[in-house]
Symmetry: D3
Subunit: 140 residues, 6 copies
């Protein structure tokens, strides 16, 4: 059964602040496009991250990927950088890019790509809240 | 990062009544095929809808789609028509089509198709309850 | 450890239709008080029920109450009567009493009271949806 | 059945930023007591609020409280003030009081007390996340 | 509307024990690779299973698949065999294959393949817990 | 505001195996009383624990209890002893007492009582699964 391709997904969480604001626009334009999110004092969310990898199931261990290693990568590459942080002010990639759910999914993909040995990153899903989430599958 | 294709999903809810009954069948046949759902007094559910769109992330705003516009479309095209309604008796498309989870997903797709400017409808998922849901990706 | 008083709660679910309408009122009054719930075609919910009993833990079995018996009572006294039914039209107690979340909790209490041998009914909680629920502790 | 005392609970949500920091302490002391929460750039959460009221069920309507009125009070007194805000910097009561889950529960109680006509405020529960919540029952 | 291809998903649950241990390895190697899961006394989970089938919506019934039949197949082929069992010791396929989430998904696929008349098995998802799940789409 | 009494609840999880079997009974009696749970190979659950403490809110920190200390106590006194264990075979208190949800709640109370400095243990809630949970408030 070693040749089966299986997808494995692991969740992680982080709590962070953000706001949406384009410096080149007037406050009114920002308010019109971003609504309450344009408040530069910031607001925050309990983000939920789902990382999916795909690979062949190892015949001996039954694993597609070493779960402890995967957990450690998520912790080191994402959670330790984003958790209890202000995304706009403290996370490098969001100094030049709006920390929307879409962009956070892309940014997490870039942080994880090539770091998970033995399996292929397939999807990054980010929930800003239960009612809103973004999926990124890499450049197609 | 403007060229990244990202999927964005937004949830909405509506509470509605329905029943399953084929007029050309005997009550016994209806009972055999539809079980308790054949009760023509109707019963109801808290339906949960997930609408997924796909598109390129706008370089300035970081959005695939204007979230306020998307929310408004879901409200106007679906929630205001289905919520607190009897699907069989009050929603036009279910006068000639059984309001199963499958058909509700198809019907919501038809209601939304072409209405979401700047992004492409990718999937409609409808949960009748946590244990049962249908996905429709449009005509393939 | 036989003398410990422990509370045990079990969940059950039922899907039903209802509407809110006072016959002695005008349609406008009903609409003003009950909003969309006044639509007499009805609408529905996936109700969730939590029944809590209290009692001493049996020294031999470790149970406060026989779980299979409790499940059977919930099935016979509540779920089989309410599930896939129109509460206003098909359930006797709601012919003279509005099927609000509050009244459903009280009605379920009356259906269960005295039926659970060896333990005491402590609370009935009914969720109409995740965002709205009622608790009844019996007449105090 | 008009004399039954029933508890009714309604949920609401708000997303906000906060940090924990005692100005009279050194950064090291703050870090030791508050850990990552001491980061003054702030971080945030999707807070979930459950407000419970108690009262007699109205014989005519079947309600303990007017749900539309209750929803409006939660919106006006809490959500519109806390949602998409930085609690420490933008909400008056948290300028002199740490915005911990405990204190937020107490503060929401004070905002709601005496505002819900016809029913009695019984409990305010605030979830900072699913794993952590505080309950306040008023001064006993 | 009979020609629409829709995916339908149904959930089921089972509670089971398992452990991870390669007999040819030393206890130290097992501990290093499998961590706490190497404890041969076993531990357990509330597994959640999601089975997705795809097919055309029947013009008359509105169904992709007979839901009662699907539920019965899940019960007979999976739940009755896995529920309240020790997977390593009591379920045949796990005597020669590690009962990891990945392998359980593959094993359930094999149990269901060809059994669901009128629809095509599309995906088997198994949650070991909310934070970890595996998807299998069959041999590609 | 230092004199407000607030309840704080924290969740923790553990995955464990168990079975229900009275040695002095015949296999048939065990099967009749405990059903599938009488299988001595064992089965398992993802248990969820909610521990509630009550106390006055500290005027300076805004806390009822030091959250890091509370988390550590739950980890040391409960999770490290129960997680990935077979309750009947590896946890001392369940060698002479059935590991039912009721008894697990009582046992966790005894493990935590007197260990949480500065606050009073108020309730231990244990979920065996979402549909079944037990509450213990100590000896009354």
């Amino acid at each position: 059964m070693s040749t089966n391709q299986v997808l494995l997904t692991r969740r992680a969480e982080f709590s962070a602040s953000h706001y949406y604001y384009v410096e080149g626009w007037t406050p009114e334009e920002n308010r019109r496009v971003f609504g309450k999110c344009a408040n530069k004092q910031g607001h925050g969310h309990n983000y939920m991250l789902e990382v999916t990898v795909t690979g062949k199931v190892d015949q001996m261990t039954g694993f597609v990927v070493d779960l402890k290693a995967l957990k450690e990568i998520l912790e080191n590459e994402v959670v330790s950088v984003y958790d209890h942080r202000h995304l706009n002010l403290e996370v490098p990639e969001f100094k030049t890019m709006m920390p929307t759910t879409e962009n956070i999914a892309v940014a997490i993909w870039k942080r994880l790509e090539g770091k998970i040995s033995g399996a292929t990153l397939q999807r990054v899903r980010v929930y800003e809240m239960q009612d809103l989430f973004a999926d990124y599958y890499g450049e197609l």
